[in-house]
């Protein structure tokens, strides 16, 4: 299975929504605390070969990169969330000197999350440690709107897969908020965990279901129509859950990674929810993704400076 060694510490990994063999890895020097960042664009070989991964391009930044999102409308476009508070757009079709094609500096602190709107494909949102979420479109040099309600760092933002105007944000103020960009304020506040919430993602099959991951070590699944109690509490991680991701292929499958260095797969509708645990990382596992184009193809990255791509059920380290 393809393994790629990154010079810096991994922060995020995302499969391209257009090419099944392509993915991007965001990294930051010195664990993202101090130093530069680098964005890697990787291509996987279609068949077994001596070089299972080739690096198509990489882009350096002056500060660490915490998150990335591929454009849903252009196969060559992606946006990076940079620790210096900027969002940088990269166009792979342009010659390297012209990249980043745009830099959007509005956030006053680290940008920790970015998500491209899968239904209204020219817009994206960013979540920052300045407690705000900002809405952007590719054709505007400034943000369209700023959503300021959270009382602490926003760690994660996610568009609803079905509704072009609805997104969720997860914050260190221990709440997840659901927003409709047509409304002046948040439409729902879910005080989902007793501790900081580091990640959220919508179910791709049921637009009412939302998964959250928290410092309290659990992943929780919520029905936004009756959000006073979670539908499922998935316990099994030994430290804070850093990211959650809902499967694009199976309704009940959720993927999570944690400071306990593992990546877990869950089926939240069954009693023994933990269906797989991968311990291939030797440092905090902080970035995960599931391929939309190839069922069961997973990717992860972590502070051990490694990015792995593997098929669910196989050992990521097996080469």
């Amino acid at each position: 299975m393809p393994v790629f060694k990154t010079p810096f510490n991994g922060y995020a990994v995302k499969f391209s929504p257009f090419y099944e063999h392509r993915l991007a890895v965001a990294t930051a020097q010195n664990f993202g605390i101090l130093g530069n960042g680098r964005l890697h664009i990787l291509d996987l070989s279609p068949s077994p070969s001596p070089t299972p991964v080739t690096e198509l391009a990489f882009f350096d930044t002056a500060d660490g990169i915490y998150d990335i999102a591929w454009s849903e409308s252009h196969d060559n476009l992606l946006v990076a969330a940079v620790a210096d508070g900027s969002l940088k757009l990269y166009d792979l079709s342009l010659p390297p000197p012209q990249n980043p094609s745009r830099s959007l500096s509005e956030h006053t602190r680290e940008v920790h999350a970015v998500d491209w709107n899968p239904t209204r494909r020219d817009s994206f949102i960013s979540g920052s440690w300045d407690d705000t979420v900002k809405l952007w479109t590719v054709d505007r040099p400034t943000s369209v709107r700023t959503f300021k309600e959270h009382a602490y760092c926003v760690y994660s933002v996610a568009w609803n897969p079905r509704h072009a105007d609805v997104f969720a944000s997860a914050s260190g103020d221990c709440t997840v908020r659901v927003w409709d960009v047509r409304e002046p304020g948040s439409t729902m506040i879910i005080p989902g965990h007793e501790h900081e919430i580091l990640s959220c993602d919508w179910n791709k099959y049921d637009e009412c279901l939302l998964a959250t991951g928290s410092v309290d070590k659990t992943v929780r699944v919520w029905d936004v129509r009756s959000y006073r109690t979670p539908i499922a509490v998935l316990a099994g991680h030994g430290y804070a859950v850093r990211k959650v991701k809902c499967s694009p292929h199976r309704r009940n499958m959720v993927m999570s990674c944690s400071y306990d260095m593992t990546v877990c797969m869950w089926d939240f509708m069954v009693e023994d929810a933990l269906i797989g645990k991968y311990d291939h990382h030797t440092e905090f596992a902080v970035g995960i993704d599931m391929s939309v184009l190839v069922e069961g193809l997973l990717a992860s990255t972590g502070w051990d400076e490694m990015a792995y791509v593997w098929q669910h059920g196989t050992d990521p380290r097996a080469t």
Partner: protein, 462 residues
């Protein structure tokens, strides 16, 4: 450098979960719908398959205890015809009913539970259908409906009946045995023993509800109930009861069919009521005329999951949205609705202004008037067909009776009348309220709109 220290701190907090509670944001927060547009969840209320809906709600006529038409009818014979009617009018297979819950207050617990079981047999239910009773005093009928709704929501069963039964002829209000002398230690415990009429006097005194206001409310109640009866508005909800009645003078027994409530006095006037003497306190304001009547009666509500109702092609009379029971000072137990209604309405994500119709039990005119004023409700929306002062208050049956009255009135009013609330005060200091919605008015889910074509914000996107 400071930036690096801050980053380090934020990341370290992820590994030291205890320290994150220093932020203590959760203390000030509770799960809530936020204002979105004109009225919060209003937008988001929609038709879901797992909604609990009411497909039928009926009641017996309510008759004066000891003097009315049901005085010689066994309690189970009041309940059985109502249960039977639910089945007959909907053609539901009685064997499919998962549970029957009956709110009932005054009768001895075990005996009443047996009577209810027997009533189910008289009504034609097979032995496989279970039944139980519930007692939350005056809100027992509503509690029964809420219990069934909750059980359906929990997935215990898909179809259930919430009912209520009270024969105040057979079971007068009384305390059996001695009172624990410890009751003197705690004022609130002691206040639980106050006669209800005294609590009414307390409300009137403490909140300044005048005798005139109370009598006026009673007259209004009688007037509206009489008008509703004359207009045949209760015909849909009342199930006629075939029974016998014994003439108290001659001892002659004759068969009768009871079809109307017999406590309504169409000609009641403020002047007449003003002549009545206070019952509970010499200088008081609570009289027999401005209190609820002592009554026999029953009500029953058939609930099921929306998906089941659709499959069976049932008419959907209403949707059970939320229920709340709250506690208040026992000495002024009548204020219950003033606390319970906002709680239930908030839980539904609504505002008081969104409610189009109220059924607030008129235990006493004092508390009824107080609650109406306290919540600033439009009198035109409350008890539009009269209340307990005219129709009667068969304790355990009142909640179920109100469901029948409310939903049939909402049906008559059409789509302009979307949300309804039922509430009552509860002896020993509580209040209960529930929010219902018309069955046929579901909005398009506003923030769950399907994107048919992409409505791109920029021209170059595709």
């Amino acid at each position: 450098m400071e930036r690096a220290i801050n980053r380090q701190k934020i990341l370290l907090d992820h590994l030291r979960p205890t320290s994150s509670s220093d932020h203590n944001y959760e203390a000030a927060l509770s799960a809530s719908n936020c204002m979105a547009g004109d009225s919060a969840a209003y937008h988001r209320t929609s038709a879901f398959g797992d909604d609990v809906v009411i497909v039928a709600a009926h009641r017996s006529p309510l008759c004066k205890a000891k003097r009315g038409s049901l005085k010689d009818t066994f309690p189970d014979d009041i309940l059985a015809p109502v249960l039977k009617a639910l089945i007959e009018k909907t053609n539901v297979n009685p064997a499919e009913v998962g549970d029957i819950v009956v709110g009932t207050v005054l009768a001895p617990g075990s005996q009443r539970a047996s009577e209810c079981r027997m009533a189910a047999f008289y009504a034609g239910f097979p032995e496989t259908v279970p039944i139980r009773t519930v007692n939350r005093q005056c809100s027992s009928g509503l509690q029964a409906v809420a219990d069934v709704a909750a059980a359906i929501k929990a997935g215990f069963y898909d179809i259930g009946i919430g009912a209520g039964l009270e024969s105040m002829t057979s079971n007068p209000m009384a305390w059996e045995g001695s009172v624990n002398p410890r009751v003197k230690e705690i004022v609130q415990a002691q206040d639980c023993l106050l006669p209800m009429g005294i609590t009414s006097e307390n409300v009137a005194h403490r909140f300044g509800v005048t005798r005139e206001e109370q009598d006026q409310a009673a007259v209004e109640s009688h007037r509206k109930a009489a008008a509703a009866t004359a207009a045949g508005k209760f015909k849909d909800e009342i199930i006629p009861i075939h029974t016998k009645i014994v003439d108290p003078k001659t001892g002659d027994e004759k068969s009768i069919t009871v079809t109307v409530d017999d406590g309504i006095r169409p000609n009641a006037t403020v002047a007449d009521l003003a002549k009545l003497k206070p019952v509970f306190k010499k200088s008081g304001t609570t009289t027999a005329g401005n209190s609820s009547q002592v009554t026999d009666g029953a009500g029953a509500v058939l609930l099921m999951k929306r998906s089941v109702a659709m499959r069976k092609g049932m008419p959907i009379l209403g949707v059970f949205r939320t229920f709340a029971a709250v506690g208040v000072d026992p000495a002024i137990m009548g204020i219950g609705p003033a606390v319970a209604i906002p709680a239930a309405v908030k839980a539904a994500g609504l505002e008081l202004d969104d409610i189009d119709l109220f059924e607030i039990n008129e235990a006493f005119a004092s508390q009824f008037v107080y609650c109406r004023k306290k919540l600033g409700l439009d009198p035109e929306k409350i008890n539009v067909n009269g209340g307990a002062m005219a129709i009667g208050h068969p304790l355990g049956a009142t909640g179920a009776r109100c469901v029948a009255t409310l939903l049939h009135e909402m049906k008559r009013r059409g789509k302009d009348c979307r949300f309804g609330v039922i509430s009552m005060c509860i002896g020993t200091g509580m209040g209960a309220a529930a929010v219902f919605e018309r069955g046929d008015s579901a909005d398009e889910l506003c923030n769950a709109r399907k994107v048919e074509t992409h409505d791109f914000l920029s021209k170059d996107a595709r």
